[in-house]
Structures are given as structure tokens and as C-alpha cells.
């Protein structure tokens, strides 16, 4: 600590040395190196677009694993982070919305990441530059693209901009989470809530079934006689099937109705009636529609969407796009590997895999495949939870990560112990990704 080099001295002077030292000493995981770079050396500049679980994690671990020698600019249009994981608990009345909301100061202060809050309007892959609306342009050595998903609204006839004002998805946490909670609170006892599930793949495979369970719990305890109807475009519950069906039978028998193979193709926002491709109809007092999904718009702008016009394919060692060089893609926007879910946990792991690869590349070494793991917990009432988990190892011949034989599985049964782990997981995920 006593041998500061001139660069570091100058920086400390500029920051006010006592403040910088206090910050470095007081915050776990912080070091002067993380702020200034090892001996002031720089090996590259990485721009990360999107500060969700994937992008924020990539930014943090790039700084951590490069000892601050990689400069990181993180571009995110929102000033606050609102967590999708745990947002179903808000709908069930089991969690305060405020607990989902987090700032980005930890990434700035603890890791020396430059935060830019602006929308990205263009990416020039040849010149390696990102253009923003209002915050200028940024050159990069490597770009990390963690854009999340956008809906394909057009797949549900009648679900236009006007209809979207009253018929919510709440599948990106934020104002819609609060608005849907309000609709549920305003629902008279005996009313009907209808949730549609798109064909897989979509963000958070067990999410709709957890949401149905949370809302059924709310109806059971606060709105006697109300019903939850799940219209699932898939032909079965696609995650933790036996566990969810078991809970619905034992706890929510007269509340939840599950209809597999029910693909919503049209909605009438006035009568609140949805129709299936087979002509079935269902009316809900509260409609909650989840349209099919694809990689978010900015992924198209970048030119990395090369699977079915929906998802981005990557090299699974580096997570570099197979369509555009020097761009690494993470999270929900990916054409996922076999049995790899579009989850927050997985996006965080993608962020680490990409960070490791980029540190290796910018250090002049060959990136190596890394293991990835997933855990998705679902709370089925106010206390008990169930999980699904897996470990994914890169297969050198097939060139994709595959679930390790014998690894992973689901809970034996719902338990309070796993409920406690679920809430601990959320808190730890926020910290690991954001501070």
C-alpha cells in the first residue's frame, strides 16, 4: 500500500486521496487496482450494452478479473434496475415492490465502471463504435451485447398499442408489475384472472407457473371464489411439471384451471375475450398476456440475429456472435444451448463466461470453455419453494454446452427451507450482479 506509482498518485490526488482510500478500504471486493488498473496499464476497452443480470455481471467481472486493466463502459437506458426474479411475489402480495429496485452506484464506485444512461441508436461493427442518443459515441475493442428480449406483439391479433395499455404482460418488471398488482387488488371476489403462456422458448420457463401459483395464493387468502385460468400454448407445463401440478392439485384445486395446447392468437380488448387458433374462447376480468418473444431490437441493429429471425447464435467458448466479429452476446437474446433456460441465473453465468473469454483474448491468450450452472427457484405460496437446476459443460465435438450426465434435477417436494433459499438467492444475485 505504501508504494504508489506516479499514475496512481495523480489519480488519488485528483479524487482526494483520503476519500479514495476510505472507499477502497471500506467496501468489500474493492481495491485500488480495481479503480485505476494494475500499474496504470490498459489492455483494452469493452463497451457493454444492457445492464440487466447478464450485462451488469459481465461489466463487473471484466473489471475484477482484469485487475482493472480493461476499461468498461456500461450503457443502459434505465437509471434503475428492477428485478424480474421475485416480481411474481409482488403480484401475490408477498413482497414490497421497492425491494426489486436497485441502483447502479455499486458498479461505478466499487469497480470503476463508467455508467452511461442513454439509448443506443447504432452499432458500427467495422469501425467498432456504438452510437447513443444524447451521450455521444463510444469506440470499443470488444462489445458485449446483453439486450434482453422484445415481444412479437403482432402474433396476437388485436393486441395493439391501445390494448397494451390495459392488458398487461408484466414480464419486464417495472411499472407493469405495479399496474398488474393493482388490477388484481381491484378484482372483485369471484372474478377471473387469465394468464397466457407463449410457446417456448421464452424468458423464465417456470415463471408463468410460479405467477399462477402466487396469484392463486392471493385469491385463496383474499379473494374467495376467484379463479386463475392458465392458457398454455405448450402441450404441458414445461418446467417442474410434476411439482407444479402437485401443488395445484393439493393447494389450489378449485382455483387454478390449467389448459395445455391453448395458443392465444387474438384478443378483443373491449370484451376481454381471447381466442385460440382452434377457435376456443375465454373471457377474463383481468387478462395477462405473454406474447411470443425474440432478441431485443438492438440485437437486430447489431446484425447478430441469425437464428429463425429471432435469436443470436454464438461460439459457446467465447460467447462471440457467429455473425459479427468482436461482439459477444449474452442472456435471453441467445439461441440457447440444449436444456439451457433463458433465466437471470443463466444470464449472470453467461456474463461471467464472456468476461473470462474477453480477459483472455485481450491478454493475448486463447479463451477456454468454462462450466456454467443454473438454478431457478419458484415460490408456490408465501413460504414454500421448489427448484430446478443443472450444470452445463462444453462438449468439444458438438461445440455446445451440454448438461453433465447425472447432474441437476428438481426438488423432492415444496419446502419452507427452499423458500428461505429462494429469497437468499435473490438478494445474493442482486449483489453478485450489481455491486
Amino acid at each position: 500500500m505504501s508504494r504508489f506509482n506516479p499514475d496512481r498518485r495523480r489519480l488519488l490526488h485528483a479524487l482526494g486521496a483520503s476519500t479514495a482510500l476510505a472507499a477502497a478500504a471500506g467496501i468489500p471486493g474493492t481495491s485500488l487496482a480495481a479503480v485505476t488498473g494494475k500499474r496504470g496499464r490498459k489492455i483494452g476497452h469493452v463497451v457493454v450494452i444492457g445492464a440487466g443480470f447478464g450485462g451488469a455481471t459481465a461489466a463487473k467481472y471484466l473489471r475484477k478479473w482484469s485487475d482493472g486493466t480493461i476499461e468498461v463502459t456500461l450503457i443502459e437506458r434505465n437509471r434503475q434496475f428492477v428485478s424480474c426474479p421475485a416480481s411474481n411475489e409482488v403480484l401475490g402480495g408477498n413482497r414490497a415492490y421497492e425491494s426489486l429496485v436497485h441502483g447502479y452506484d455499486g458498479l461505478r464506485k466499487n469497480w470503476g465502471i463508467r455508467l452511461v444512461h442513454a439509448p443506443v441508436t447504432g452499432i458500427d461493427a467495422d469501425k467498432r463504435r456504438v452510437r447513443t442518443d444524447g451521450a455521444g459515441d463510444f469506440g470499443y475493442d470488444r462489445l458485449v451485447l446483453a439486450p434482453g428480449f422484445d415481444f412479437i406483439h403482432g402474433d396476437i391479433a388485436g393486441y395493439d398499442a391501445k390494448a397494451q395499455e390495459s392488458i398487461l404482460h408484466a414480464w419486464k418488471a417495472g411499472p407493469q408489475t405495479l399496474a398488474l398488482r393493482k388490477q388484481l387488488e381491484d378484482l372483485p371476489a369471484g372474478g377471473t384472472y387469465v394468464l397466457s403462456v407463449p410457446k417456448a422458448p421464452y424468458r423464465c420457463p417456470p415463471g408463468p407457473y410460479e405467477r399462477a401459483s402466487q396469484i392463486a395464493w392471493y385469491f385463496k387468502t383474499h379473494k374467495p371464489g376467484s379463479k386463475v385460468i392458465i392458457l398454455d400454448a405448450n402441450d404441458k407445463v414445461i418446467s417442474k411439471e410434476k411439482l407444479f401440478l402437485g401443488v395445484w392439485e393439493s393447494d389450489y384445486k378449485d382455483i387454478i384451471e390449467y389448459r395445455p395446447g391453448w395458443n392465444v392468437v387474438a384478443v378483443d380488448p373491449v370484451t376481454r375475450i381471447v381466442s385460440s387458433e382452434l377457435g376456443d374462447k375465454e373471457r377474463g376480468d383481468v387478462l395477462n398476456l405473454l406474447p411470443p418473444q425474440r432478441a431485443a431490437d438492438i440485437a437486430r441493429v447489431a446484425g447478430v440475429v441469425n437464428v429463425n429471425d429471432r435469436w443470436a447464435d454464438v461460439n459457446w467458448i467465447s460467447l462471440e456472435s457467429t455473425a459479427v466479429r468482436n461482439i459477444h452476446v449474452l442472456g435471453d437474446a441467445l439461441q440457447a444451448a440444449p436444456l439451457m433456460p433463458k433465466s437471470a441465473h443463466m444470464a449472470n453465468q453467461h456474463g461471467k463466461a464472456a468476461a473470462a473469454a474477453i480477459v483472455e483474448i485481450l491478454s493475448g491468450r486463447e479463451p477456454q470453455p468454462t462450466l456454467m450452472a443454473n438454478t431457478c427457484y419458484s415460490l408456490i405460496d408465501d413460504k414454500r419453494a421448489i427448484h430446478v437446476d443443472s450444470v452445463h459443460r462444453y462438449h468439444p465435438e458438438k461445440k455446445v454446452p451440454l448438461v453433465v450426465d447425472g447432474s441437476g434435477g428438481v426438488s423432492k417436494e415444496p419446502s419452507v427451507e427452499e423458500g428461505l433459499y429462494t429469497r437468499a438467492w435473490a438478494t445474493t444475485m442482486w449483489k453478485d450482479s450489481l455491486s
Binding site: 483472455e360 462450466l371 459443460r393
Partner: protein
């Protein structure tokens, strides 16, 4: 500090070499075996967390290694770790135990 770090690198590299070609265990930059960050989502960055889920940082190396092996072979019951532990080789488990034992 520096000497300790070098010692860790040395032992990690030795274990990684045993894991053989195609191993994901190689701690390429020397200071962190990248895959140890897999554990951070639940156990905290570098294994540091104060929650219902047990922290890993600073725990006894042999205890961590034997616990993971017991989860893996089914002799120690768990809600989830018996499933996750099966995803890692014994060599990787040794690297994880070494890494987390050294965090403080």
C-alpha cells in the same frame, strides 16, 4: 500478499494439469479459476454472503472438499447441492475448495 497469491496459482495449476486436456479448470490468468464464480450466484461473490445460504469464503479447505464429494456421492443429503455437485469432477472440486478456503 503476493507470495500467497503465487502459491495459490502454483497449486491450482498443478491440480489443473491433473485434470487433463479439455479441462475447464485451468486458472488462465492465474488469480482466479473462473468457474469458481459459478458458485457466486447463491453463495456470494468470492463465496462471501450473509444469508440463509451458507458462505464459502474462509471455510476449511478439507471440509469444503469433503462436503462437495459427500453431496456428489449422495452420502450427505441436501435440497439442491447433491444435484449441482454431480456436475463437477473431483479435481474441480479440489480447486473450488482451495479457492474458497483462501478467500477472506
Amino acid at each position: 500478499m503476493k507470495k500467497t497469491a503465487l502459491a495459490i496459482v502454483g497449486s491450482l495449476s498443478a491440480v489443473a494439469a491433473l485434470a487433463g486436456p479439455g479441462s475447464t479448470a485451468t486458472p488462465a490468468t492465474g488469480h482466479t479459476p473462473y468457474f469458481a464464480a459459478n458458485c457466486a450466484n447463491c453463495h456470494g461473490t468470492d463465496g462471501k454472503a450473509a444469508s440463509a445460504i451458507p458462505p464459502l469464503a474462509g471455510r476449511d479447505r478439507a471440509y469444503l472438499e469433503e462436503s462437495m464429494k459427500a453431496f456428489k456421492n449422495g452420502t450427505r443429503p441436501a435440497t439442491i447441492m447433491h444435484q449441482l455437485a454431480k456436475g463437477y469432477t473431483d479435481e474441480e472440486i479440489a480447486i473450488l475448495a482451495e479457492f474458497f478456503a483462501k478467500q477472506n
